[in-house]
């Protein structure tokens, strides 16, 4: 999908605004220049409302006013609100072996009426889709289905991104479970895994029906009892899975609340002149986190000792020694190395025979000799199969064997180092824990009632959070038990069915459902893992390229990845994990989230626009330019809302990449920020055709005028 045009009437401050977007593949960037409070975020909401309805508005539209706040009631007490989006879809079909590309244009119109009162009640919106052609517009049924296919609603936040909000994919002040859930949801939606989920549910239902048949066959017998129990267990499983999902969500919600209270306590401490205590607490928390990360790394190193080459080499030393004696014998007999083939292959590539004759392909004699040598190689390969393996084995394993002969154990040295590291870190961690508890006690003793109230609320939220975590563990355990019991019962049921005359057909049906379920489940896992890996790799490449120009960050950031648990992790030297809040500067954090969003869009292979509000905030210099350049390259259509500050320094890239540039102005900014009076009393976004390098009567800003005066003087 490519966005072509949008039009808004009475959508908040977009009273009457038309936008157009570049659809030129060579100039795929559209820049909407706008200062803060000039309608950027409103346009982002407006586009999403047009495409997805109220569900895409903040708070799902609940209590979110749409009509202009300064609407004059004399114009009517029910405000008509309309958003129109025109877009182009490209389809491909095969015609006599060729691929034919067809482009069609559509217009989507969404409208609603809203009361002008404090409650701002709104009618359900109406949406219509039209196919545009030479002669006019033809209506199309089920517009939601078309939008869902082209811009899946689950990926809405990937296609329409608020640069600041997007940081919640990685920011430390957002609960881990929330970050995970957002990344997971985006990736799973991208892969369309809902289809496989539905298929698994469908097959399970079929399996339950076949199980009912088995119950009837063995009426009143052991078979009947087992089939009945399996039926009950299927109901239990569904209930447990629903409970588990609920427990996870509740845990996430309370986790968020605990984080929120922590922030409030920090603010209260600063207000209450307890900055020192707050500073010490923050420092202690950071120290604990740092040590926990280091301990986790040391634990991994310990675990890696059991997959290391050294443990195998040391344990196998006596046996491998005997095997090597055998190989040495062959070496002494001249059977190792096997050199015939490499020598002949070398001659062929040099195109000169050992005797000095040419082996060139164009030469008739050379061609003949080449064929002869190739035959020698083929014959030799067949005869030397074993010798070849042994040669490789001898030279491949010999260096390590020599190490093993030294008598010292490499593994024991590695183990000693790991023990020292783990013990040392544990001592530091215990000490940091004690320090933190002492600070907590100081906090408990503070006479400040606000802080004590907040701490009490925190304790309650934490209890609730822990209760849901414990509930989660208990349900997971019950599900594991249920799975085991079901496997045993199924094995017994199948055995009893085999003994029944009518059982064979039912058994065959059951086997089919079991096989199909296994195939679907493994497909689900495989797709998730493979695609996750692709997004992770691409995100890393884009991220590293974006921040490559920043020597300060370049020195500490090694790579970034998305873990199997859907966490976005950044690594520093020696594979230490970095804290995005503390170790990454604002530009890197922004680059990381943009890299994630662009990678997701690219891997999804959905031709979709990326509409991003303030993508370059907190960035500057080379990194800012690098982010912009990479984003333009990786996106199929890029629409950026940029402030004047964000544009500064990137003008040449915009000259080169942008097909459309225009400016939005908020007349309410006069006289503080605008030089000239726009002559408009209402609060509304006004468009002018000024690009990133020009300004007019309407959009000339005060800071710009002052700068000009300074330059003139």
């Amino acid at each position: 999908m490519k966005l072509l045009r949008a039009e808004f009437q009475n959508f908040r401050m977009l009273r009457d605004l038309e936008l157009n977007f570049s659809s030129d593949p060579e100039k795929k960037l559209t820049v909407i220049r706008a200062a803060n409070e000039s309608g950027k975020t409103t346009i982002l909401h407006g586009l999403q409302w047009a495409l997805y309805g109220d569900a895409a508005l903040p708070g799902k539209g609940e209590g979110f006013r749409l009509h202009p706040i300064d609407w004059n009631a004399s114009e009517g007490k029910r405000v008509p609100i309309t958003a129109t989006v025109e877009f182009e879809l490209t389809t491909y079909r095969r015609v006599s072996g060729d691929v034919r590309e067809t482009r069609r244009r559509y217009r989507l119109v969404r409208s609603a009426f809203e009361d002008v009162d404090s409650q701002a009640r709104r009618s359900a919106s109406t949406v219509k889709l039209f196919a545009l052609n030479e002669t006019g517009a033809s209506p199309i049924d089920a517009p939601e289905a078309v939008i869902n296919d082209e811009l899946p609603p689950e990926l809405r936040e990937v296609f329409f991104t608020d640069g600041d909000r997007a940081l919640s994919f990685i920011e430390a002040d957002v609960a881990l479970s929330t970050k995970r859930e957002r990344v997971q949801r985006a990736i799973r939606s991208l892969l369309g895994l809902g289809v496989i989920d539905d298929a698994i549910k469908h097959v399970r239902k079929s399996a339950s029906e076949v199980n009912r048949k088995a119950k009837q066959v063995g009426s009143g017998s052991e078979l009947n009892r087992i089939a009945s129990r399996l039926e009950e267990m299927e109901n239990d499983r569904e209930k447990f899975e629903a409970d588990l999902e609920d427990a996870k969500q509740q845990f996430g919600a309370f986790d968020e609340k605990v984080d929120d209270i922590d922030r409030k306590i920090a603010a209260a401490l600063q207000k209450g002149d307890k900055e020192k205590l707050q500073k010490d607490l923050d420092q202690a928390k950071r120290e604990i986190k740092r040590l926990d990360d280091q301990l986790a790394t040391a634990n991994k190193e310990h675990s890696a000792l059991f997959r290391s080459r050294s443990i195998a080499t040391d344990l196998l030393a006596p046996l491998l020694g005997r095997a090597f004696e055998k190989l040495e014998e062959l070496h002494d007999q001249g059977k190792i190395p096997n050199t015939t083939i490499p020598v002949l292959q070398d001659r062929l590539s040099a195109e000169i025979c050992i005797c000095g004759e040419t082996l060139e392909s164009g030469d008739p004699g050379g061609e003949k000799r080449r064929a002869h040598i190739q035959k020698l190689i083929d014959d030799s390969q067949r005869a030397d199969e074993i010798q070849e393996i042994i040669t490789d084995l001898y030279y491949g394993a010999k260096p390590r064997q020599a190490d093993g002969d030294s008598g010292s154990s490499v593994w024991l040295e590695e183990y000693k180092a790991v023990v020292e590291r783990r013990d040392g870190l544990q001592t530091l961690r215990d000490e940091a824990g004690r320090k933190f508890r002492a600070l907590e006690m100081q906090l408990d003793e503070l006479p400040d009632t606000d802080i004590q109230g907040l701490r009490e609320t925190r304790r309650q939220y934490k209890d609730q959070r822990d209760r849901h975590l414990s509930r989660q563990s208990s349900i997971e355990t019950q599900l594991t038990g249920l799975r085991r019991e079901r496997e045993d019962l199924e094995a017994n049921r199948d055995r009893l069915l085999r003994e029944q005359k009518k059982g064979a057909r039912i058994l065959a049906e059951l086997e089919v459902t079991q096989d199909v379920t296994k195939v679907l489940q493994s497909a689900y896992e495989r797709i998730t893992n493979e695609e996750l890996h692709k997004v992770s790799e691409l995100m890393n490449n884009i991220f590293i390229e974006m921040i490559g120009a920043d020597p300060e960050q370049g020195a500490i950031i090694r790579h970034a990845e998305i873990s199997r648990e859907f966490d976005i992790i950044v690594y520093g030297p020696n594979d230490r994990t970095l804290n995005p809040d503390r170790d990454l500067n604002g530009a890197s954090r922004r680059a990381l989230t943009l890299a994630f969003i662009l990678a997701l869009t690219k891997v999804s292979e959905v031709e979709a626009p990326n509409v991003i509000d303030t993508p370059l905030g907190m960035t500057s210099g080379y990194v800012k330019r690098s982010i912009l350049r990479t984003a333009v390259r990786e996106s199929s259509q890029l629409v950026l809302f940029l402030t004047h500050d964000e544009i500064a320094g990137c003008e040449e890239i915009i000259d080169e990449a942008a097909g459309v540039v225009f400016t939005l102005t908020n007349p309410a900014h006069y006289p503080k920020m605008l030089v000239n009076d726009p002559g408009v009393a209402e609060r509304k976004a006004l468009r002018c055709e000024c690009d990133h390098r020009s300004e007019c009567q309407l959009c000339q800003r005060r800071a710009d005028a002052q700068a000009e005066l300074e330059m003139a003087s």
């Binding site: 000792l305 997959r307 196998l316 393996i389 154990s409």
Partner: protein, 153 residues
């Protein structure tokens, strides 16, 4: 070495008696959230390979795997990530049989290694359990003693 010999075990399944499956579930990390001290092995193949090594070290005879009800834990393509294990499996086969020609028979080599794994698994499980600490420390101490004992001998 030609590429086709890079991993001769590529298409061969690694099977383990059903009675050991619980140990594989318990002692191998199945997710990034796994508690490493309780589940020391990064992957199932690591527990399997260590069992082969321990059996070889202790001079145990390979068990007859046909007598067990076995299930696949993984296939031989896993050795692609640690190619040195391919060499070690070949050297174990040569060392155990005294015959270098066995290197051209990957199934025979894998049967021998699987037999050693079955013989070594009870010992490794004992090493994980035997001690007052978590499995990772119990196992580390046991491997330490095993290597030192032989050195001293």
């Amino acid at each position: 070495m030609a590429d086709r010999y890079f991993n001769p075990f590529q298409a061969i399944d690694i099977n383990v008696p059903v009675e050991f499956h619980e140990a594989f579930t318990r002692y191998c990390q199945r997710s990034a959230d796994a508690v490493i001290d309780q589940s020391p092995f990064p992957r199932m193949v690591d527990l399997w390979f260590l069992s082969v090594c321990v059996a070889a070290r202790l001079g145990l005879e390979p068990a007859d795997t046909t007598k067990y009800d076995t299930r696949k834990i993984i296939d031989g393509s896993i050795f692609g990530s640690d190619p040195w294990r391919v060499h070690q499996l070949m050297l174990i086969a040569i060392g155990k049989t005294g015959d270098v020609h066995i290197v051209s028979e990957p199934r025979k080599m894998m049967t021998l290694a699987s037999g050693l794994a079955v013989a070594g698994l009870p010992k490794v499980i004992e090493m994980l359990k035997d001690g007052d600490a978590e499995p990772i420390w119990n196992l580390s101490d046991a491997v330490d003693s095993l290597l030192r004992k032989e050195k001293a001998a």
